[in-house]
Amino acid sequence: MNEIPAIQLEGISKRYNDVQALDDVSLDVRRGEIICLAGENGAGKTTLMKILYGMEQPDSGTIRIDGKEVSLRSPLDSAALGIGMVHQHFMLVGGFTVAQNAALGIEKKRFGSILDTKATEDFVQKKIDEFGLSLKATDCVDSLTVGQRQQAEILRLLCRNDRIMILDEPTSVLTEEEVSRLFSHLKAMAGEGETIVLITHKLDEIKRISDRVAILTKGRMTAIRRTSDVTEDEISKLMFGSSVKLGIPRQRASEEGKTVLSLHNVCVKKQSQEKPLLCHVSFDARAGEILGFAGVSGNGLGVLEGVLGGFIRTSEGTITLRGQDITGLPTRELRKNGLSYVPADRIAMGSCAKATVSENLIAPMLGRFSLGPFLDRRRIREFSEDRISKFGIKASPDETASSLSGGNIQKMILSRETVLAEDCIVLSQPTWGLDRESSQFVYLQMQELRKRKIAVILISYSLDEILAVADRIVIISKGRIAGIMDNKEGLSREKLGRMMLGKEDRDE
């Protein structure tokens, strides 16, 4: 049997500045197959699919669709070839009906130009019935549940007769019941000859839905297996098995400090969503330790950052800082209480691109640089120069921040927040996208903070990073704490990986 594969990716490589996102990746997918693309965050899954969808162009490598070599310069090219993508964030037009959304751009027309609403609705409804979706063509999309919205997205692809569907983490916002329904639909579509590529890192889902699983590790395709040939354990080992030495001298917290920041039963729920984003999260951060939070994206780490930073409201639970209740305080109030915080979004949130470096260095502590209502320009100057030389920021105080590199922006933010840190600091994804040298610098700073008896909260998607620097590790999975443990010798990476994927029982 020498069937031509629906998708053939060969030797795909892609580089973003300092980071090799994809390195010589090859993958064949047969018609009617469901394949799962799995891997850690930053492994290159989304980049690979963006290339297949025409949103990004590879530096090298070839793409063949049905055996024919193609060049995909934009999503229009891929759409013409019947490739469709359901993004993690839905792209439905609000206020339009299901039919209007599904048939956008391909509406049935009368006399060549007048929209035939009835015919369009009939056409869409036929597609809905054909695949047994729980939608009505005439429903307004605003009234749909999250699960139905996703069906509407898929319906859009079906109406275009797309034969290749890419779904980027389709289950992250769905309840268990909605997931089951989605999977049975996908299976039915595969039976009709649809080729489906799913990006996911949920082991049980890989087992439940896919024919094969392809695993990307740090931009390389490390394994492609028949799903029936591997166990969940083996998949998790393939995903998390290889560690990278970060080359940081390990230091341990000397003695147990007293509790500085404490969360008790914190829950976060969004109104439109049934699934809570955080569910009964409790932990203590102690003085002089690095408390590392690890997890897979979409499991609540970002929400935890928002809660600690004061811009996501908790729906239950209490947060105390030095024994004082700070639950529900907005960022401004938290800052007054000594919040020191390095956000994951260092460009739009942690810094102001249009402002100068010294203007960026003083915002959260204006009070220290004032003479009555005026700014003390000499002190600002001295402070900026001191920060720039101590942190080795390659910039002058009057330069605008937009001209700085990512690493220097992060140094600028760190140099500011470490001054503010009195007894607690929150760092979210502090080395994301940084080169090796800058990352090392960040780790050294964290160890400095620990020496100053500060509770360091590190939120990171990189397990290697957590294992290298954290004293205690909190694993977050599906919005819950899956485990809190000391970072001792012999802690197995695979075991943590399984916990992150929600496969290991909680152990304290």
Binding site: T331, R332, A348, A353, L366, L375, D398
Partner: protein
């Protein structure tokens, strides 16, 4: 500082192109182009009287330009300049008459009252933006348009000066007027107040905590929230200050030039403030030369119209050309930086 240089260069090129187009217009439309041209460009400097009038008309332009600039620094757009100048002038004129026993102290109070009244109106648009995220652009424009109608009624109705042939309020007494420079031209000490305002605004924006917070909130709202700045206040304050400056422009016109609130005296001034701010790149100090340039073209056009066969439309065309070119240049600037917002 680099961006400041390229901004100045951009504005300079625009000014040159505008002047070239004006020259071309003179050649096409006039029988005596050389005379028209010289009247246009040199006319404003030919006598102390014309020079004084040119400087007088730059007074409101400076304040209007400052008003637009400070709103833009806070990432707000105040399109209500016309109504705010009118309101400032009206309130100042009416309270000036009411306070005539107080002399110059009354003048001060009247100018402050006019400024604050306009500040309150513009600040209200900013406050709505803070409270309900309404567009301050739309609300300030609509409020201003309505205000013009209301003030028109008040001037021609209850506050009409029966002793005058014009549609105007009663004149403020001699003792309250700002002293003249270069009489009989319209120039008064009001221009010194305008220039001082530019210096105050510059110092406020770059030397005080409040100005710093206002600019940071304007440049990046998320960063300002993250840093713990009082973003609520700095959402409405730029509009309030903007309105105050416009209002002061109106009030100074009354006490320096007209001595009463004449119907429709504000017409066009609010929009010209925008052109001035765009030429100056929202930089308070650069607003002064930008306003002088604009006033030069305006009075040049007026003088050329009186002394040659050019019609009044040429003045309008000249202004439109400058407005158009400056807008293109300003948008080009922001587009090059990769932003879609016009700041």
């Amino acid at each position: 500082m680099n961006s400041g240089y390229s901004r100045a260069k951009g504005a300079f090129i625009v000014i040159l192109i505008a002047m070239a187009i004006i020259a071309a217009l003179c050649f096409v439309l006039s029988e005596t182009p050389v005379k028209a041209l010289s009247l246009f460009f040199i006319g404003p400097f030919s006598s102390l009287y014309s020079l004084g009038n040119m400087l007088a008309s730059s007074t409101v332009l400076i304040l209007g330009g400052l008003g637009v600039s400070i709103a833009m620094k806070g990432s707000s757009f105040n399109l209500g300049g016309e109504g705010q100048i009118y309101l400032g002038g009206f309130v100042a004129a009416v309270s000036g008459v009411a306070l005539q026993d107080l002399g110059m102290l009354g003048t001060l109070i009247a100018i402050a009252a006019g400024s604050l009244a306009s500040g309150a109106i513009a600040g209200f648009s900013g406050w709505c933006r803070m409270k309900w995220k309404t567009s301050e652009m739309i609300s300030s424009f609509l409020l201003s348009s309505a205000l013009v109608m209301v003030i028109n009624y008040l001037i021609t109705g209850p506050f009409l000066d029966p002793g005058s042939n014009l549609l105007t309020t009663q004149k403020v007494p001699q003792a309250m007027r700002l002293s003249k420079i270069l009489p009989p031209s319209g120039l008064s000490t009001a221009i010194l107040i305008a220039i001082a305002s530019a210096a105050v605004i510059q110092a406020y924006l770059y030397r005080t905590k409040g100005g710093y917070s206002l600019r940071i909130t304007g440049m990046s709202y998320r960063y300002a929230v993250y840093s713990g700045l009082n973003t609520r206040v700095y959402t409405w304050l730029p509009m309030f200050l903007s309105g105050t400056l416009y209002g002061m422009g109106g009030a100074l016109s009354v006490f320096g030039t007209y001595y009463a609130c004449v119907r429709d005296f504000q017409s066009g001034l609010g929009w010209n403030g925008f052109a001035v701010a765009l030429i100056a790149g929202s930089n308070p100090v650069l607003v002064i030369p930008a306003a002088l340039f604009f006033a030069w073209i305006q009075s040049g056009a007026r003088i050329a119209m009186q002394g040659s066969d050019l019609t009044s439309q040429v003045a309008s065309i000249a202004q439109a050309v400058i407005f158009f070119l400056i807008t293109c240049e300003a948008f080009g600037r922001t587009r090059k930086k990769g932003g879609v917002s016009c700041k």
